[in-house]
């Protein structure tokens, strides 16, 4: 009898455990996923209409997706986001990789301190960074320019690159660089032909993170960007505040798809790099 009770108790515990996990999962994902069906709403509301719940075909539509394409503000925002994102990514990836290489060198003094400073934009509240950047860049005449936003976003994205490249370098066999040197390759050739190809997955996934960081950044843009520098998150911000149009739900859905693709790419790169390294 005791055995039966324990067994039942154990089963109950297991149900509770699974139930708790499911709740946590729903809590995390539901607010994001609910946006997806809502973006196909035929009416300009942020709620499910009765028709939608009845699965009435007329209650569903692609009109908000059409309005993204038709509204030139969204097109301009996309272009701005791409220009700023790509330029900031290139800058962050280059600088972050070089920084990680330097930090991996045992001869470099005050490595921990330098690492801490480089990582700090990730830890400091964005609003503080944004305010600081705003005052500083205003003096330089960089506020309300693309260049200003690119520089600010590069600073925010670089820590991601530093971290991923540092992690990749930990698995990099430095003897390979010695071997390349003994074979007659100078420092640049050694980096280009031996080190870079082997740490490329880390560099690339760091770059993706940096791009994502710029692509969904809104605080700095709110403070620093003018009308000319409206990015997609900035446009969504005003969409919520000024127009309350479900178009932003359609944009959000597209952004979710984009984020999922980025995550899959990063994971795929991670696996590939672990296959290459012996």
């Amino acid at each position: 009898m005791t055995t039966a009770t324990t067994f039942a108790g154990r089963r109950l515990g297991r149900y509770a455990y699974v139930g708790f996990c499911a709740c946590a999962f729903v809590f995390l994902v539901a607010p994001i996923l609910v946006i997806v069906p809502l973006s196909f709403n035929a009416e300009p509301y942020f709620t499910f209409t009765e028709g939608m719940l009845r699965l009435d075909a007329d209650a569903w539509s692609l009109r908000w997706y059409r309005s993204i394409v038709e509204d030139e503000q969204w097109g301009r925002a996309l272009v701005n986001s791409m220009i700023i994102g790509v330029a900031a990514t290139v800058l962050a990836t280059t600088l972050g990789t070089v920084a990680a290489l330097g930090l991996a060198n045992a001869a470099m003094p005050a490595r921990r301190l330098a690492m801490g400073i480089l990582i700090s934009p990730m830890i400091t509240p964005v609003i503080i960074v944004a305010v600081g950047v705003f005052f500083f860049y205003s003096k330089l005449g960089l506020a309300q320019t693309h260049l200003g936003l690119i520089l600010a976003h590069a600073a925010l994205g670089a820590p991601f690159v530093v971290i991923t490249v540092t992690a990749t370098l930990a698995g990099f066999d430095q003897t390979l660089m010695r071997a390349a040197a003994s074979l007659g390759a100078g420092p640049l050739t050694r980096f280009r032909r031996v080190q870079l190809p082997l740490i490329a997955p880390g560099v690339f996934s760091g770059g993706l993170f940096a791009f994502a960081a710029s692509f969904d950044e809104v605080v700095v843009v709110l403070l620093m960007g003018g009308l000319e520098q409206r990015t997609i998150p900035r446009q969504m911000w005003s969409g919520i505040r000024e127009q309350i149009s479900p178009t932003i739900l359609a944009v959000a859905t597209l952004l979710i798809i984009f984020a999922v693709l980025v995550l899959f790419t990063v994971e795929w790169l991670r696996r590939r790099s672990s296959e290459v390294s012996p």
Partner: protein, 385 residues
Amino acid sequence: MKAPHVEYRNVQKSYDGRVLVVEDLNLAVETGEFLTLLGPSGSGKTTCLMMLAGFEQATSGAILVNGESVHDLPPDKRGIGVVFQNYALFPHMSVGGNLAFPLEVRRLPAPERAERVARALGLVQLEGFEDRRPAELSGGQQQRVAIARALVFEPGLVLMDEPLGALDRRLREEMQFEIRRIQRELGVTVIYVTHDQQEAMVMSDRVAVFRDGRIEQVAAPETLYEEPERAFVAHFIGENNLLAGTVVGSDGDICVVDTQGGTVHAFDVAGSAPGDEVLLAIRPERVGVQPDGVSADSVSDDSVSDDTGHYANELAAAVVDVVFIGDHLRVRLKVGERDDFIAKIPNIVGHGRVLPGDTVRIGWATLDCRALPPDPTVLQTEDDR
């Protein structure tokens, strides 16, 4: 006079400014020579190799290649082939890509590159492996590729840092022979680092025995075995019996030494005077063993007994242990206070039959017993066993 291919002059190396990893190294390597740096781990041999390759800078002193200091040359300008312990093949390149790398860096035209890569692969018997990836090869094959890559740009000098350390015994012996064959075929100078004394003996023209950042002795393998000049070398190369004693008399190259087991004559390596402490080194296979009561006349080995039929050096000993090995008997003896004296008796007709507990007389030719400068650490390691 032609300068040696490589010369270390008073080279010192310290990583932290206090402890010397290499103390005052002086060594000359001739062109076409196969020289091995042999020593226990941490004795500074790899550091010497890395300084020559240019990966480390000497703290003081000079390293010369063909009579010119290489101090200001970065590793990529030295043109020295290096084979690393872990092979260090580029994992993202094929075997052909790895071999072509030094040739591309030197801007050789493609047809010549392909020809040289094929020739280098032929040299290590890996014809047709161009398109394989290093990860697809066995350890032995990777090692061959690493050797081919260090040779493909035709350096006159190749450094090898424990290249066979990761291979199993059978493959290691095969590769020892291979490396030696290739070295003779190409006539390149090889400086080879190992901690395996057998490997050093098999492969080298000369061996430099390292200990604590110093060279104890540099000589051909046979000389190291037959004529060690230091107790450490006598102890490290092959097996040796070491007996502590005090010099009581001296006559030219021969000295008379009092040991716990009796008085013996020995070849005086250290140039000692009466009263000096010495260590006697006698190879186990040079020791004759006769049961008490049997005349030494019956000893067939002329080198051990003199004209009168007696051992030139005779000590009393007690048999502690006898192990039958096959081609010889390994006899452990108590001489004086110590019971670690080993004698190898060849398993031939008429060899003396001994059993544990027997008292025996042991002896050896005077020239087979070398009186070396005392070395407390070497005797200590004997005690620890």
